[in-house]
């Protein structure tokens, strides 16, 4: 049995689907962020796997993942800062309750 590209893409796909499900259904903003991380992660896997299987002589996919991780880190840090700030103001991290800025 060979480990094909396809076999790596299946868990990645399911991970992405879970991310989507979580993003749409969760109400806690941190949970939404977690779902977002899932999706990001699945994309990272895809980059790496495609790179490794299709263009083994290059490292573009890997670097892309590397940068994605860095950006994800930055983004998470910022998002969590905002969430905590929102929590300070609203005493809540429920996305349905945070409607103060809405028209």
């Amino acid at each position: 049995m060979d480990l094909t590209l396809f076999m790596y893409l299946i868990p990645s796909l399911i991970m992405f689907g879970c991310g989507v499900y979580g993003f749409i259904t969760r109400k806690n903003m941190i949970a939404i962020m977690i779902s977002l991380e899932l999706m990001l992660n699945s994309v990272d896997i895809n980059f790496v796997v495609f790179n490794r299987y299709l263009f083994p002589g290059q490292m573009d996919g890997m670097f892309f993942s590397l940068f994605a991780i860095a950006i994800a880190a930055a983004e998470t840090a910022l998002a969590l800062a905002i969430i905590i700030n929102v929590f300070r103001i609203a005493k809540n991290v429920d996305i349905n309750q945070i409607t103060k800025l809405k028209f």
Partner: protein, 664 residues
């Protein structure tokens, strides 16, 4: 004395107005009054100088071949509509203008002097607003002088408006009083309505003749009053007609309506009795002697045109004759002496109007017979004498009102003992207006009756009857004020003759009323500038004196001493009496038209329409846009999860479509 001084005569009151209005309010009250009187005295002297120079001086071209010419002293352009249609602000001196200068300045001077006393309390302190009062008097005098020296019809219109304004301001002098407040509004709006017609008349007239100037309309190139010029003016209009009448008839009728508004002809008379809310000297000046004859003056000014347009002249005749009777009938029952005098004024002005109108007749164009134009002369004569004795009567009434603090004659009675000078002056006025020789009224009224009889027996009898009524109601007022019964002293000090500032004008005017009839009007003020030969028609004069005496006699019987006769007669004719007392319900009628029909029936619905329909439509458009955008807003919910969901579905849909396409 050069005629160009007429400019000064007109301008001086304007300067006084500006001076008193701008500077005077900072000065003491009494001093402004004195300044006003002195300025008016100067003005009067100048006006007399101009008039005497015009009538009796030589040179300066006022007399050519025995025909008096109109002299244009100055005529600068003021407002150019087109190259030919130019409004000028000029000064023109001709017989009627010169006569009016005299009338206006005389009465105005008397009123200025009289007001020094009248507008003060019993301790001689001037009232609040004294400066304003004198400023307005000056403004009025200016406007009236400007009106009579007008060189063109538009200038007359302008000064019509100006006198309307001064009248408005002076009626409303006591502006805190609701009645005064209401009266001045009414006066202005009614005369404004009439002026609208005046304006339309001018528009029509000027369109067809292409000029405003009297020298083109009525005087002709040589400036002598001529039928030929007027005829050419009318020919210029061509045969243009509107609704079957010639445009000239329309124009002249409209212009007459303008004059009727100012001269309080029926049915535009309703403002004049209310205007009595103003201070009494103002009533004497404006609403008895000068402004109210502006309409008569206007018709007289355009007389050569009117002569040629019989339709318009007949309207004037009917309106004038009816108003004379109507106002006299009302005057017989009024209890407010100023209102009674006001109706008397209306009646007398109607006399003048009628007199103007009778002097034309059907064959005027064919032959100008001896004595033609008598009515014109009589009208102007009566205007002159009436101004004097009516001013006298009003000033007397003012003195009485000042003494007893009431307008109602049941607060007066038996004042003869307390105010002998006033009583005698009033009596002279009454005799003059009743037409008893040798007082002024007799001469002028006699000429009017002669002219009326010349036009037709019916008109003559009608006017004689009104003359009789005049004698009756004037003496009714006289008796009710000065006799009837003993005066009950209500106030803590008994009424007495007023200070000299008020009595002197009475005496002067009384003297004028006695002698004014002997002014040789027939060779001074005629419509064509030529001398008019008149003789005293003993038949007419005799009957008119007889009728006047009859009226006086009746009044003496009824009102000399307190008796139940008037009451009984009033009861006998209750309906008629009440109708007359309520002025035949004209005010109620106007009230209904203006308030119920125009205000409630037109203005309120229009305002509603504007706010609800027009503005409602605009708001509806805004609301519609708003609700549409509120509907769309739901799509832009701000919920990131919904966005992701929709985005995802969209992406999937696209992917699915792509896939299907690839597979197919």
């Amino acid at each position: 004395m050069p005629l160009s001084l007429a400019i000064v005569v007109v301008a001086l009151p304007l300067l006084m107005f500006l001076f008193l209005g701008l500077v005077g309010v900072k000065m003491g009250r009494k001093i402004t009054g004195v300044i006003g009187v002195l300025a008016m005295l100067v003005d009067t002297v100048l006006a007399y100088g101009v008039a005497l120079t015009y009538f009796f001086g030589s040179g300066q071209g006022q007399m050519v071949d025995g025909v008096r010419q109109a002299v244009v002293v100055a005529n600068p352009a003021w407002l150019s509509f087109t190259d030919t249609l130019v409004v000028r602000m000029g000064v023109l001196v001709d017989p009627i203008a010169a006569m009016m200068l005299v009338v206006i300045t005389t009465v105005s001077l008397m009123v200025h002097l009289y007001s020094l006393g009248y507008m003060s309390d019993h301790d001689g302190n001037a009232e609040k607003g004294f400066q304003r009062y004198y400023a307005f008097l000056a403004l009025f005098t200016f406007s009236m002088l400007g009106l009579v020296v007008a060189t063109n019809i538009f200038q007359i219109f302008i000064f019509f408006e100006m006198v309307g304004l001064s009248s408005y301001l002076l009626i409303g002098f006591y502006y805190s009083l609701p009645a005064a407040n209401h009266a001045n509004k009414k006066a202005f709006i009614v005369t404004r309505l009439a002026d609208l017609f005046f304006l339309l008349g001018i528009m029509i007239l000027s369109y067809y003749t292409n000029t405003f100037d009297f020298d083109k309309l009525v005087f002709g190139p040589t400036m002598s009053g001529s039928l030929e010029t007027a005829q050419s003016a009318i020919t210029t209009a061509g045969g243009a007609t509107f609704l079957g009448c010639s445009v000239m008839a329309w124009a002249l009728t409209f212009i007459f309506i303008g004059g009727a508004g100012k001269s309080a002809m029926y049915p535009l008379h309703i403002w004049l009795p209310d205007a009595m809310e103003g201070p009494t000297p103002v009533s004497a000046l404006i609403h008895a002697a000068t402004m109210v004859v502006a309409g008569v003056f206007l018709v007289a000014r355009l007389f050569p045109l009117y002569v040629l347009v019989q339709g318009a002249m007949n309207i004037i005749l009917v309106v004038g004759a009816f108003t004379a009777f109507y106002a006299a009938a009302i005057a017989c029952t009024q209890s407010d002496i100023k209102r009674a005098l006001a109706f008397s004024t209306i009646s007398q002005i109607a006399f003048m109007m009628t007199s103007l109108a009778v002097s034309s007749n059907q064959n005027a164009l064919i032959e100008i017979h001896e004595g033609y134009g008598l009515g014109y002369m009589a009208s102007m004569f009566h205007l002159f004498t009436h101004a004097m004795f009516k001013a006298l009567l009003f000033l007397c009434a003012g003195a009485i009102i000042h003494a007893v603090h009431s307008n109602e004659n049941d607060k007066m009675h038996g004042l003869h003992k307390y105010m002998p000078i006033t009583s005698i002056c009033f009596l002279i006025g009454c005799l003059a207006i009743a037409g008893i020789p040798p007082f002024a009224g007799f001469w002028s009224k006699d000429e009017i009756l002669v002219a009326a009889y010349q036009r037709g027996l019916g008109w003559g009898i009608w006017m004689s009857m009104v003359a009789g009524m005049t004698a009756f109601y004037m003496f009714r007022i006289y008796y009710l004020i000065f006799f009837w019964k003993k005066h009950e002293v209500h106030t803590h000090h008994a009424p007495k003759d007023q200070p000299w500032t008020m009595t002197l004008p009475l005496i002067i005017l009384a003297c004028i009323s006695v002698v004014a009839g002997f002014v040789p009007f027939h060779d001074m003020v005629t419509w064509d500038g030529k001398e008019l030969h008149t003789a005293l028609d003993m038949k007419v004069a005799g009957t008119s004196v007889l009728i006047a005496l009859l009226g006086i006699g009746l009044a003496t019987v009824m009102y000399r001493k307190e008796n139940p006769l008037p009451e009984r007669m009033a009861n006998a004719m209750r309906g008629l009496w009440t109708a007359s007392y309520r002025r035949f319900y004209m005010d109620e009628f106007y009230q209904f038209i203006t308030h119920k029909v125009i205000f409630q029936g037109i203005c309120v619905p229009i305002a509603w329409f504007d706010r609800t329909i027009i503005d409602g439509f605009m708001n509806w458009m805004a609301d519609a846009t708003n609700s549409v955008s509120f509907g769309i807003r739901r799509l832009q919910s701000g919920s990131i999860q919904a966005y992701v969901y929709v985005y995802l579905l969209g992406a999937l849909l696209l992917a699915a479509i792509t896939m299907i396409c690839v597979l197919l």
